[in-house]
């Protein structure tokens, strides 16, 4: 089976801060990584390939440095990778991004399954996977914690708020995965050698025959009005004394607040 995985290179968000004077992002010194949920998607694709045969193609939309993220997936075992990159894509929101990735996938051929991470850790939107599915007019299953392919169908377990839901979906389909689905493998030595030598193919807006009136900032319905640092909290009352004394003091205070 032919599987495509869409990944995103993201800043390690635990390190991103905002400059309180200029209200701009401080990105210097912040390492770029493959979005962790996308690593799970790549891992799942590789496992399905090991079971059912076929090919794993990984694509990303981003600036030239996103090739590093693609190389990491080659090191994990991806067969083919493509960088979807063009100035015409700059400033895309999730709507325009999903259009562009769908256009690239259409151009690259027919896939039985398209996998994405449930969301990227920078934007945290979870909107691009379903968006791609809509552009490609294929069914979607989001938040998958288990995927089993049987013939032309997949049985997928979804991780919801309180329960898990098991659904059956015909292929081709889009599935977005959660972290609990698997443990991504580390890159193999052979894979790293392949990644080092790999020439990454880049596809431009013209290559994927994208309608440039609906790509990039111009094609994005949303606009960022401003960014700012979250308000800081001052901190409350620290209790002191022995463990029992602190517990007694706490219970007294909670009862004063009529919590119990």
């Amino acid at each position: 089976m032919d599987i495509a995985v869409c990944i995103k290179q993201v800043p390690d968000t635990t390190e991103v801060r905002i400059n309180p004077e200029t209200n701009t992002l401080i990105r210097e010194g912040v390492p770029s990584i493959v979005n962790p949920f996308d690593e799970n998607a790549v891992e799942e694709a590789l496992r399905l390939r090991e079971k059912h045969g076929g090919k794993v193609t990984v694509i990303t939309m981003g600036p030239p440095q996103a090739t590093e993220a693609l190389k990491q997936t080659i090191a994990m075992g991806a067969d083919e990778v493509y960088l979807i990159s063009d100035r015409a894509f700059a400033g895309s929101d999730t709507w325009a991004t999903s259009y562009t990735l769908a256009a690239a996938l259409k151009k690259l051929g027919k896939f039985d399954l398209i996998l994405c991470g449930k969301q990227a850790i920078d934007g945290d939107t979870a909107q691009v996977g379903p968006g791609i599915a809509e552009w490609l007019n294929i069914p979607q299953v989001t938040f998958a914690v288990k995927v089993e392919v049987e013939g032309s169908k997949a049985k997928v377990e979804r991780l919801l708020e309180e329960v898990n839901e098991i659904v059956e979906i015909p292929l081709p389909a889009m599935i977005t995965v959660v972290k609990q689905i698997n443990e991504p493998r580390p890159p193999s030595l052979k894979g790293m050698m392949r990644a080092k030598k790999a020439e990454i193919k880049t596809l431009s807006a013209a290559d994927i025959e994208a309608d440039q009136t609906i790509t990039g900032l111009k094609g994005s319905p949303t606009r960022v009005m401003k960014i700012f640092a979250p308000p800081q909290k001052g901190g409350g009352e620290m209790l002191s004394g022995s463990a029992d004394e602190m517990v007694n003091a706490l219970v007294t205070k909670l009862r004063e607040r009529k919590i119990f």
Partner: protein
């Protein structure tokens, strides 16, 4: 709808809609929360707040509770295929409703269901969509929706606009706004607009086979008034028992930090934070949770926060109403004993 193609269209898109997410006939609290917040926005815009309730024919009985929480009108969308949420039939039905009645703003809870639906719909109806908002307001001059949300794991906040497209669509995090019982003179008229969507065979390809309950979830996290959460500081997965005992003594639910879920100490249904659930109970007790921003954004709306941690510099203490510097393994069981003693 892209207004740049037809600027005169803007005036035709009116009203604030709220998706009344329901499971098994139970309307989710986030719908009531969004109706309450929608009413504030509607004051500035001078428009109606409408709930969109979809399901099979039995769902009609739920309209009244939407009126009781402030809806001016209910769009009742029924079809046997809408009994349980599935992406395709819901997207089809609600897109048809949007095309026909043209809302200016469409708010949807940022639940797994809401995020699955909204993302697909936004592409189909060609409109902007802002994910997981925690703040909403109306630009007083341009009269457009300002949608504020955390990004980069909660390290920054961003305000997003959809100036040229209608509806302006947003998913909104549960438990950020408070639901209200409202005496709404308009709702006494019981203004229900019934709508039968036209579904296509291709909308019915995905089948729900079964629902698997998580036995470790004894009390529903998002509706709990008291939550006791465990982090790495409890040192061993076995010590979640201690967290559970405190939760049980208080009649509350068990929460967990991302680190403990990632480590496999407890199931993901318990996770609180940016990639887990947002909660806002009356009392949140954080046991051995350092308080990374990604956790804090998921519980900072709690009325009273108690933090128990060995490290006096743990960021959780900045947010805590009451802080205890100490070993969870000693403090938590002591607290459980004390509470049992009081409650007999």
């Amino acid at each position: 709808m892209d207004l740049r193609k037809d600027p005169n269209e803007a005036a035709n898109w009116k009203g604030i809609w709220v998706f009344a997410e329901q499971h098994g006939g139970n309307v989710q609290n986030v719908a009531y929360e969004l109706i309450a917040e929608g009413r504030k926005l509607a004051e500035t815009l001078g428009c109606e707040v409408c709930a969109v309730l979809a399901g099979d024919d039995h769902i009609e009985s739920k309209c009244q509770s939407l009126f009781d929480h402030g809806a001016d009108k209910v769009y009742l969308v029924t079809d046997p295929e809408l009994q349980h949420y599935r992406t395709a039939p819901y997207t089809r039905a609600l897109t048809q409703l949007v095309d026909k009645y043209k809302p200016e703003i469409f708010l949807i809870g940022a639940t797994t269901t809401g995020r699955d639906l909204a993302a697909r719909m936004a592409v189909r109806v060609n409109c902007g969509l802002t994910a997981d908002c925690t703040g909403l307001s109306i630009d007083p001059v341009k009269k457009i929706l300002q949608q504020t949300r955390p990004a980069f794991g909660g390290n920054i906040m961003a305000t997003i606009l959809s100036p040229n497209h209608r509806p302006q669509m947003a998913t909104v995090r549960p438990k950020v706004f408070k639901k209200e019982k409202i005496k709404n003179p308009k709702s006494e008229q019981g203004n229900v607009i019934k709508f039968k969507p036209t579904l296509k065979p291709e909308d019915l390809l995905v089948k729900i086979l079964s629902i698997v309950k998580d036995e470790s979830v004894k009390v529903n996290l998002q509706d709990a008034e008291i939550i006791v959460s465990g982090g790495r500081g409890i040192q061993d997965p076995k010590n979640f028992k201690m967290v559970e005992e405190l939760a049980q003594a208080l009649g509350g639910a068990v929460g967990a930090s991302r680190a403990t879920v990632d480590a496999g100490w407890i199931s993901a249904h318990h996770q609180v934070g940016q990639t887990g659930k947002t909660v806002a109970p009356k009392l949140y007790i954080a046991c051995g949770i350092a308080g990374k921003i990604q956790h804090l954004v998921g519980m900072q709306g709690s009325d009273t926060i108690v933090a128990i941690n060995k490290d006096p510099d743990a960021p959780i203490f900045k947010l805590a109403t009451y802080g205890i510097v100490g070993d969870c393994l000693e403090v938590v069981p002591a607290l459980t004993r004390k509470i049992r003693e009081i409650r007999g």
